[in-house]
């Protein structure tokens, strides 16, 4: 039984991702499967897709940047009700650099994803993300306000704390996100799948 921790303070740099049901698999079932994955292999491959947070040109450089300043790279997960496509094609190989490919380790299953974060234990938490305080940390969108970046189809980002809070004339609930889970990334932080 995992004890639900009290309110957790956000680091100045972290990854943010919306999570939920995926590939016709309910969220609770995904969590249970991923806990078994951690027990068996010592790490979790957390699959994702899209163009934001590319493992090689965004997540890995971001993780190295974070580790120069703090001990851990944290993924903050906001639960949403998702209508993700029931795509169940499992990845069979992974790569940290796109050049050398290795078989997906026994005990790990990632479906319907081009990329995966490499995680330690996924823990429940009580986190509040005030998007007005953060901006995109890496890539062509660097400097873009977090609240603007997460509008539309983008559901994940590498964030860094802005120099000052942006004052929004008409604040909305959308600017404050409640995150219910978090995890620390493990070396190599993110991989490409096929």
């Amino acid at each position: 039984m995992i004890e639900v921790p009290s309110k957790i303070e956000l680091p100045s740099k972290f990854l943010f991702m919306k999570v939920g049901d995926h590939a016709a698999e309910p969220w609770e079932q995904i969590l249970a499967r991923k806990r078994r994955e951690l027990d068996e292999t010592g790490r979790i491959f957390w699959g994702y897709g899209g163009n934001a947070c590319h493992p090689i040109n965004q997540v890995q450089p971001f993780a190295k940047l974070v580790l120069k300043e703090m001990n851990d790279v944290v993924l903050v997960m906001e639960f949403i009700h998702s209508n993700a496509d029931p795509d169940i094609v499992p990845a069979t190989e992974y790569s940290t650099d796109g050049v050398i490919w290795e078989p997906i380790p026994k005990g790990i299953k990632v479906t319907g994803s081009r990329y995966a974060l490499v995680l330690d234990e996924i823990q429940p938490g009580d986190l509040e993300v005030n998007l007005n305080w953060y901006e995109v940390a890496v890539g062509p969108s660097a400097g873009k306000p977090a609240e603007a970046y997460l509008q539309g189809r983008t559901d994940k980002a590498c964030f860094v704390k802005s120099r000052e809070e942006r004052i929004i004339e008409t604040p909305s609930e959308n600017h404050t996100r409640k995150a219910n889970f978090f995890a620390k990334l493990k070396d190599p932080y993110a991989v490409v799948l096929r």
Binding site: N57, Q60, L65, V138, P140
Partner: protein, 273 residues
Amino acid sequence: MDFRSCLYGLSDVIINRPTPLRVFDQIYMKLPDMLLQAELTARWCDGKTVLFIGDGDAIALAMTHLSNQKQIKGQPKHATVLDFDERIVNSVNHFASNFGMTDKIHAELYNVADPLPEIHWRRHDAFYTNPPWGASNDGESVCAFVERGIEGVKPAAIGFIIIGDHSDFPWTHEVLRTTQKLTIDKGFCVAEMLHEFHRYHLDDSPELTSCCLVVKRRDAQTLTYDSKTLEKDRLERFYGANHPLKVHYVRDLTNGGKLESRDYRMDPWNQES
């Protein structure tokens, strides 16, 4: 300009582009801006040879194809595309062959980290580059591509530099300033700048634009061949902070589309099922 014929011509070019690889920030320019950029480049480069340092967007092909069809003003004498992605090299050369333009455009495999091949040293009248924009390496990647372009042009030359430019993205202004300083130090001046001129197929920031910086040099000292491999510290942050160059070439497994793609398989029709 016959707009419809221009779009037909561009359509030929766009369908010929290989799938962009986001891992190298191959993010393609949108169609209307390709047309404007091809027209601008052809007009400036009438009668000139142009060296493209990387060209995933296929501006070289767009310019040559539309110019060859007399759809736009300006007749560049020849375009050479250097790219580390063999899919792009093959796509250019096959297109040139299919449309009878092999005397007007040619592509070669080349990685900017390597010394510029001696055959291109100070040979061309103009250079063009749309490099990785250097958001997190203070424009280092832009400088690497621009320096190779400058190595490839004659003392009197023009340069076209396409880099991020948007008022909401402060890093674009820092990189723009670094780039302008580099070109000025190399004897160029800014001849024209088209502010926030292009948009891209960049789904997480579709509003991010780039400028077309046109630089011009009247003369320069004649130098003997001296192109060198990029220094180690520059390779370490080639694509950005903590993002070193690790890939020399991207290889084309379809020989420019002559071989079948390996992206799909076909399930047989089974009448019994």
